[in-house]
């Protein structure tokens, strides 16, 4: 069930991938913003451009002085974030918050750290490049950026998208298993009397049958019925 879904999603991704990817481009230079926007659109990505690091953080739903949100350990988007961003590409030299500062803030945030970050710079300074890569930047592009440079972006975006989907599937699976355990006490080795061995009135029998069917469905790898019946009001034992 889960594996099949992932394969279908992967096919969807490779088939019509790039229009699903949204890139946030950060640069204080108007010309460079226009240029990077044109390059990204030509590569069929969705683009949002901002002219500063602080505006980028605002767009991502993280205020400059806000602490990273500890409630989102799986890296899912912050509550404030309206749109999903699949990659951030930023100029290094900007007044106020540099691209390096922005990179650090993103990587320090539990909600944003999974977003790949790419740095651009017109200056070829090896120590600068090293520092950015060490801080977690995926790539470092020298300006002027070319169309061919953007081909290196896709693997980073796909890796994150698949990772996020896997995490979501895992979360769903875990929550399903957990609620199964709550509703099928028969499965736990315990001193509780086994309902199957006692003569049961109708509701529990139906209940049992449904449970068995569901277990079989899981084992066979079919998608279980999402609208799980609530067992709370039904007595399991007489």
């Amino acid at each position: 069930m889960v594996i099949l879904d992932l394969e279908l999603d992967a096919m969807a991704i490779t088939g019509d991938s790039r229009s699903q990817f949204h890139v946030l481009a950060v640069d204080d230079s108007l010309i460079d913003r226009k240029l990077i926007e044109r390059l990204l659109k030509t590569s069929s990505y969705q683009v949002t451009t901002v002219d500063s690091g602080s505006k980028a953080l605002k767009f991502l739903g993280l205020q400059e002085d806000e602490q990273s949100n500890p409630d989102t350990p799986f890296g899912s988007p912050n509550n404030h974030q309206e749109v999903e961003v699949n990659l951030i590409i930023t100029d290094y030299c900007m007044p106020g918050m540099t691209g390096y500062d922005l990179l650090k803030k993103v990587k320090e945030s539990s909600s944003l750290r999974n977003i790949p970050v790419v740095i651009m710079s017109s200056e070829n300074v090896p120590s600068r490049i090293t520092r950015c890569l060490e801080e977690g930047a995926e790539e470092f592009f020298l300006k002027p950026v070319r169309l061919s440079d953007l081909n290196r972006l896709k693997p980073h975006m796909m890796k994150t998208k698949i990772k996020n989907q896997k995490q979501e599937e895992q979360e769903l699976e875990i929550s399903e298993i957990q609620s199964d355990e709550q509703q099928q006490p028969v499965q736990l080795p315990s001193s509780q009397p086994q309902p199957e061995s006692q003569p049961q009135p109708q509701p529990p029998a139906l209940l049992l049958q449904h449970n068995n069917n569901k277990r079989k469905a899981l084992e066979e790898g079919l998608s279980p019925d999402r609208t799980r019946p609530r067992y709370n009001g039904i007595p399991t034992m007489v």
Binding site: D28, S29, L30, I31, D32, K34, L35, R38, L39, T42, C93, P95, S122, K143, P144, R146, L147
Partner: protein
């Protein structure tokens, strides 16, 4: 005939571009810009040149070298992004002079920069006008093909 006009305009543009490349006024980045231009954004190149490029305010008194350095960096970056090769090179020299607090050098560099920038602006304007004329001529050609 209008068809002849279109071809001649195209030839004139190619010639002008070739000259500019030969002179080092423009470099390969300009070609990249042209390739990005298409039906969906036909004015991309001219937008680049006019919107962001003219924002260069240089303090003639050179009272604040640091601020000048920042402006120069930005101007240099923009020049490099649109393929304005000679302008960028002058900026490099200009920046070197300002880092050394070399007033005479800065003055000379500023003169050169203004000259190069003016020349580039005029040539790009010429190119843009030719392009517009070519588009108009090409559009007017088709109704006459019925004859």
């Amino acid at each position: 005939m209008l068809g002849w006009g279109v071809d001649r305009l195209r030839a004139d543009m190619s010639r002008l571009l070739a000259i500019l490349f030969h002179q080092g006024v423009l470099d390969e980045q300009f070609l990249q810009l042209q390739q990005l231009q298409d039906e969906s954004s036909p004015n991309f190149v001219s937008e680049c040149k006019t919107d962001g490029y003219c924002d260069c305010r240089l303090d003639r008194e050179f009272s604040d070298y640091k601020k000048m350095g920042i402006h120069l960096n930005q101007f240099m970056g923009s020049s490099s992004s649109i393929g304005a090769n000679r302008v960028r090179n002058v900026c490099v020299a200009f920046r070197a002079a300002s880092e050394q607090n070399n007033r005479a050098g800065c003055l000379r560099a500023l003169e050169l920069l203004e000259h190069e920038y003016c020349y580039l602006k005029n040539k790009l304007h010429e190119l843009f006008q030719m392009e517009q004329q070519r588009v108009l001529a090409a559009g007017a050609r088709y109704p006459l093909q019925q004859h």
